[in-house]
């Protein structure tokens, strides 16, 4: 039978995103994709999906989704509230950073995203939507992607690839992902030689603030102006997510996933890939500063970030209900070790 999540309230800006539409930038096609790819990958891991599968990116205030399927497993990662509304039951808060198994007729109400710009929701098996140019990412500015490349709207039916939740217990991340803190690391360039010494020094020492003009395309940063050596204009060249371009007014713009493929303003630096999820989570008013690193150091930081993410995914474990015994975990443990240390939570400890 057909299985859907039906949008009964659209929220403010929920879009389908995967890890981006690569391979078509030569045609001017922006990459788009999840602003916080770590959240998307972990949400997918929690429901047993390939890590790059498309999910919903929720900004500001999430949608309300009705389960029109026998069952579905979902997981959200990020700072958002969720409520389950089930017939004949009081509304029940659902925690992010773990999976939940929902049933026919349940309404999942995704609330406010608070503490970062976005959160991600994954469903087990993913959505049965047709990719556009090899990707399910939504580029809203040009209406490219599934659902016409637009945010969710009331009445949308998101087709599910599975018509039931997978077997096995719900699982959780032991703790929310750690995005790190401190300055965003950048590699200077590609046009650092288009700026004065003073501008480079200011850029690496001042505190900037995300201005009110902040969206999936980029963040305008308020702070000390950066002076060019000569003109701010260069022959248009390629951009990446994380490029920091500085137009003639000297106010930097940190480009995010919906950035244009090419641009004609000098770029002072580029945020390293390990720190892009942090950059994607920034909101208007957030403060930020920058620290220069070499490409080689950036590569090492990315590798260690990937190891951390792999570690979090390995640590995913069956959910242990607060104050109770998780029978499924209990049985599983009994099969292996013959006894269980319930006081210590039942897992992880070697037993004699």
């Amino acid at each position: 039978m057909a299985a859907f999540l039906t949008v009964i309230q659209p929220g403010l800006f929920a879009t389908v995103q995967d890890l981006g539409r690569f391979g078509f930038q030569e045609l001017g096609m922006p990459v788009a994709g999840a602003l916080d790819p770590v959240a998307l990958r972990l949400a997918n891991a929690l429901v047993g999906n390939p890590l790059g599968m498309a999910g919903l990116e929720i900004a500001l205030l999430g949608p309300a989704l009705r389960v029109d399927a026998p069952s579905v497993r979902i997981a959200a990662v990020g700072p958002l509230t969720m409520t389950l509304e089930r017939l004949d039951a009081a509304p029940q808060p659902l925690a992010p950073h773990r999976s939940h198994t929902l049933h026919q007729g349940d309404v999942l109400r995704l609330g406010a995203v608070d503490g970062a710009s976005v959160a991600c929701l994954a469903v087990a098996g993913g959505f049965a939507l047709a990719p556009v140019m090899g990707s399910l990412s939504s580029y809203v500015r040009a209406g490219i992607g599934p659902l016409g490349g637009r945010p969710l709207t009331e009445g949308d039916r998101l087709p599910l690839a599975r018509d039931g939740a997978p077997d096995g217990p719900d699982v959780e991340l032991p703790q929310p992902p750690d995005y790190g803190a401190g300055p965003l690391r950048v590699v200077p360039g590609p046009q650092e030689d288009r700026f004065t010494e003073a501008a480079l020094k200011t850029f690496l020492s001042a505190t900037y603030r995300v201005g009110s003009q902040a969206d999936r395309m980029g963040l305008r940063l308020d702070g000390p102006a950066l002076e060019h050596r000569g003109s701010a204009d260069i022959p248009s060249d390629g951009l990446v997510t994380g490029s920091i371009q500085v137009p003639g007014n000297g106010q930097p713009i940190l480009l995010l996933n919906d950035h244009q493929t090419a641009g004609g303003y000098a770029k002072i630096a580029t945020v390293i890939s390990a720190d892009l999820p942090r950059a994607g989570r920034l909101r208007p008013g957030d403060g930020l500063s920058f620290q220069a690193v070499t490409v080689e150091a950036a590569e090492a930081m990315r590798r260690s970030r990937e190891q951390a993410i792999a570690g979090w995914i390995r640590a995913i474990r069956p959910v242990r209900p607060a104050g109770g015994i998780d029978l499924e975990a209990l049985y599983a443990e009994n099969l292996i070790s013959g006894t269980v240390d319930i006081v210590n939570g039942g897992s992880d400890l070697p037993l004699l």
């Binding site: 030569e26 001017g28 096609m29 990446v240 090419a262 080689e296």
Partner: protein
Amino acid sequence: MEVRFTSSGDTAFNVEFGEAIDRATNARVMALHARLKAAPPPGLVETVPTFRSLLVVYDPVATSRREMQAAVETVLADSDTAPGDGRLWRLPVCYDPDLGADLAELADALGLTMERVAALHGSAEYFVYMLGFMPGFGYMGDLPVELDRPRRSEPRVRVPAGSVAVAGRLTTVYPWESPGGWHLIGRCPVPLYDGGRPDPVLLAAGDRVRFEAVDRATFDGIAEAVGTGCFDPASLRAA
């Protein structure tokens, strides 16, 4: 000129062939683009050609800057031959002041008649240096020097889709309604981006374009055929 490598973080670098916007420099960009596309080194994500540089996007988990730059240098040392000529398109354009809101003003500023502006624009064969700004937006050159005029000082908030426009020594057709600062001199009835086509983007970097003046009735006829799905853009390919 010596090739220069510049960093765009740890996921991309630029291979710069110079500072100038000219055919010879761009041919070297396109040659490297074509060769890397034909035989991508492991870890290459994609390459993005622009006027005078190629952005090489790679996966820093699968490879490294050192390895990827070495692979690119090998390809560069091997040969620098320009790829063959791109496709030639004949794009209809109606140079009508109702469809090109800046035609009269631009003609005035250049000291030419509107007819002369249209004739000059239609006289050249243009080369698609690169796409960017938005999906399918081609930067084409070189515009006859008589039409060289800086961008509008006040960009428009809304440029209609299909607008044929000029700025500096470049010309374009806006694939989408969007903001824009180029001078609008006419309209092309064939969409440069159409999500319903198997290849939604009509032009590719390296293609060549000639503009063919059509009258308003012909423009309306093509626009109607496009609207009803009866227009095959392949018919615009010159033999």
